[in-house]
Symmetry: C2
């Protein structure tokens, strides 16, 4: 077989543009659709994330209804309904039928979604595996309801509207209902849908969640009416910006001078710092940002990186807080002791982050197993890539023997406990865009360990207190066994009333051994 | 702090379209630009892959010149020059300055590039970290040379031409030269640039490569003038196609009837199979593909999946072959024994693939270390995510004790050997788009193990032969030590010439212990 080589002309002819929808259709494992089991979980996760984000932004206590029902041996109908703000009728097609359209990509803000890929990815997966459109019903509370059947035109990455009605039905409801049929597999395991929903209920205890699955209905009642504070958007911090982005910011800014550009477009740059940056770079602070050439840009950039600035503000973060964490753990886990710790915020590469840790101990938790680790990132449970995640690594590197759990080497500790870690940040450094593991920056590992150590210390006090209490109880019981005999003897010697002696002795026993333990 | 909730209208206003360039700029770790060390390797890898792919398609024996030189403490100039077919002047901007433009995305063909992201990703990374354009010089052999300085307009995902000349200089050369400055870190380790280049030289021994790095120049001369056969493009196999894709194929086909659609647009569907598929689905084979509704599509799809068809052809693959593998190993590794095995092709999810294994043994290789594993995928060395890769897992699961190497449990074997595995496929199932690890499908693990076992058996014969030889040499030496004494005694007894007896005895010793070992 002789094959002729191609020349440049022939090769050029073969070049084609690829739409982003085509790209993710072919590379769907990148969005979490590697196999039917994980695909079902991913769809559920995208639906629930989307509803929780919308409710939180609208300051509504979420009520989410999720249905997962088999339609054939390898297909499922997945439906979510929420009481969120709903979507504007005319915006529904682009919001759900075009990849890479989103509101959070450009913002420095803590949220579940980041990229504008989640729900659209699910729509794409549904049509790829069952050929069917996604059904959307929505209202914003204006007495009208939108009905859509939607697909994605993969070659153009544009929404394809199969049917559409916008009906004035006078129903004053608001919320969103999504429904689709997908290829999937349902498992009830550590990486399955029920475990995911349970962890969502723990980490979002302000949400009412009903999950109607293949095995029946589960209800997760909200444990608190307190919504965590809405995270605030912040400007980028100079330390976290790269040269290419900095150049684009200079071109796009509406600020008139370099000085006001630094002050307005960044966080933590005041008038003095802005002047200082310009001075070190040898640039007049009054010139227009748009007039800056490449060489000057680089000078300003270097000088900005060297400037002494405050770390980014951290009040833009919205951790769960200790009381919400405790209420989540208590309502879903049958333990006997609970502790929760929220660390002060820290910073990596110009992005603020905050770590929280919770522990549930004892009760009905199994005695001699590796402890379960619940990993949360901006309130979303992480189900896959456990071994790759900074949270797992930090749990393993913590010395749990000091906190009364068993541990051999750098493995997960063993004992009747569940450990929960929440990582909140304006930009979570996931190891891949299926968002299942947090990258192991040293500062992140360190913060997680500090949170775990504090929660561990509290657990230890409880365990030691409990052990003392049990020991004293044992001693009291031994002592009490002899009280009648002692009372009898004392009665014979002193002639005091037998019952009185007995009561006094019993009171004394209680005083000496009755240690109260706190939980 | 009281924060007002947003309504649907406010939320809708915040929705923006994100360009694919912006997406990968922010998520650049997805393309292999997580940190400066890996970024430098990724740029080198994309440059070299691109040159090798172009030369191979044009059937040119590649000659590649690579330069990596520091410009500041944290920046490098990276330059590649090849003798490939060059690029058409007018096509250069889109080919190198727009993400997701490529020639291989839609093809079922074995190649290094797949997505149309590689070189453009490097252009993007350069401008992000140093703000500088990429320089391109190219000619197709027509006596004219193109000069470009190119950047990417990130917001539009369109090329931005900084400067352009197309000069009639009469130089009849063809090839491409790319040059850029990037932020990076140079390491000479197992995951560094020199190791990568060495592995490229081993797996592409038909290429001349000159690498001029920070520590001086290394030259890798080609070891063979034989190019591997050009891989052939194939049509998709019915077993590997999903419903959504099948629908689109129906809409886009130029075939007039369902029957010819099946025969023309798929591999392994002949006239009888096509009729059979239509019959089982209860559909007239003569109807037009474009007239098929959703329900009929699904019927045809199901019937197609159930049809008994031949597995996809495998002559579309282009393995290295045993002789090219041997010449690669021999020219770069100072071992004493080499073996190479090419397995017959196999199929996963409708995609054909083929596994090859090579072993270098002994010589100057270190005695008591874990063996080095060289992982190759469509002739590209894989440098990262070793633990996640099917190749590593298969090496660990092979019982190397049977092949005379040390091994404890399911760890990498120990001994003076290097193991090389090449995975060739029309669609490599990478675990992420930075293309560093192959997914562990059972059939893939099995094929790799079979190749390793065969290569292992050959190594074992050699090792055993060598051991026998050494033992006999030892015995001969012992024997030879007594020859003078024996000769003396025999001389006294028989009066034969002492020297003659001695020579005869020595000859005999050689005959008995002189086992020749093969390599």
């Amino acid at each position: 077989m002789v094959v002729e080589g191609k020349d440049a002309e022939q090769m050029a002819k073969e070049h084609k543009e690829i739409s982003i929808s085509e790209f993710f259709e072919k590379n769907r494992h990148l969005l979490g659709y590697d196999n039917p089991t994980r695909a079902l979980l991913t769809v559920v996760k995208e639906f629930v994330d989307n509803s929780l984000d919308a409710c939180e932004e609208a300051r509504i206590l979420p009520r989410i209804w999720l249905e997962v029902k088999p339609t054939t041996s390898d297909r499922f109908r997945v439906m979510v309904k929420d009481n969120g703000p709903g979507m504007l009728d005319k915006r529904i097609p682009k919001t759900l039928g075009k990849l890479l359209v989103g509101s959070k990509f450009y913002k420095h803000i803590q949220s579940r979604g980041q990229q504008g890929l989640g729900t659209k990815g699910a729509v794409l997966y549904a049509q790829l595996t069952t050929g069917k459109p996604t059904t959307i019903i929505s209202s914003t509370g204006n007495g009208k309801t939108s009905f859509y059947e939607l697909m994605i035109d993969v070659k153009k990455n544009e929404p394809k509207i199969i049917s559409h009605k916008y009906v004035e039905d006078g129903r004053k409801w608001h919320g969103l209902k999504l429904e689709m049929e997908i290829e999937g597999r349902y498992v009830d395991s550590r990486t399955g849908v029920p475990e995911f929903i349970k962890e969502v209920a723990i980490s979002n205890p302000f949400a009412d969640i009903i999950f109607d699955g293949p095995e029946g209905r589960m209800e997760f009642k909200r444990g608190t009416n307190e919504l965590p504070p809405l995270p605030k958007e912040i400007k980028p911090h100079p330390y976290g910006v790269e040269l290419g982005i900095f150049r684009r910011m200079l071109q796009d800014t509406s600020s008139r001078s370099i000085k006001t550009f630094f002050m307005n477009d960044f966080t933590r740059v005041g008038s003095t710092s802005a002047n200082g940056i310009c001075e070190v770079a040898g640039i007049d602070p009054k010139i227009s940002p748009k007039s800056v050439d490449r060489e000057t840009t680089e000078k300003l950039f270097k000088s900005m990186k060297k400037a002494k600035l405050l770390r980014p503000p951290t009040d833009c973060l919205s951790p769960l807080g200790e009381s919400i964490m405790l209420s989540g753990l208590k309502k879903e886990i049958e333990g006997e002791f609970f502790s929760a710790v929220t660390r002060p915020a820290a910073v990596y590469r110009g992005e603020p982050f905050q770590v929280e840790a919770g522990i549930a101990y004892g009760g009905k938790l199994p005695e001699d197993q590796a402890v379960e680790v619940i990993r949360l990132s901006n309130r979303v449970p992480l189900m896959y890539q456990k071994g790759d995640c900074a949270i797992t690594k930090a749990v393993e590197k913590t010395n749990w023997k000091s906190y009364e759990l068993k541990q051999s080497g750098s493995n997960l500790p063993r004992g009747p406990a569940i450990v929960m870690v929440h990582f909140a940040s304006t930009w979570v450094p996931y190891t891949s865009e299926s968002k299942q593991a947090i990258a192991s920056y040293p500062i992140i590992i360190k913060e997680i360990k500090l949170a775990l150590q504090e929660a561990g210390r509290r657990m230890k006090s409880y365990v030691i207190g409990k052990r003392k209490f049990e020991m004293r109880q044992k001693r009291r019981k031994k002592f009490e066994r002899y009280i009648p005999e002692v009372a009898e003897t004392l009665n014979k010697i002193t002639n005091e009333d037998k019952q009185l002696i007995k009561a006094k002795l019993q009171k004394k026993a209680k005083e000496v051994t009755g240690v109260k333990i706190s939980g």
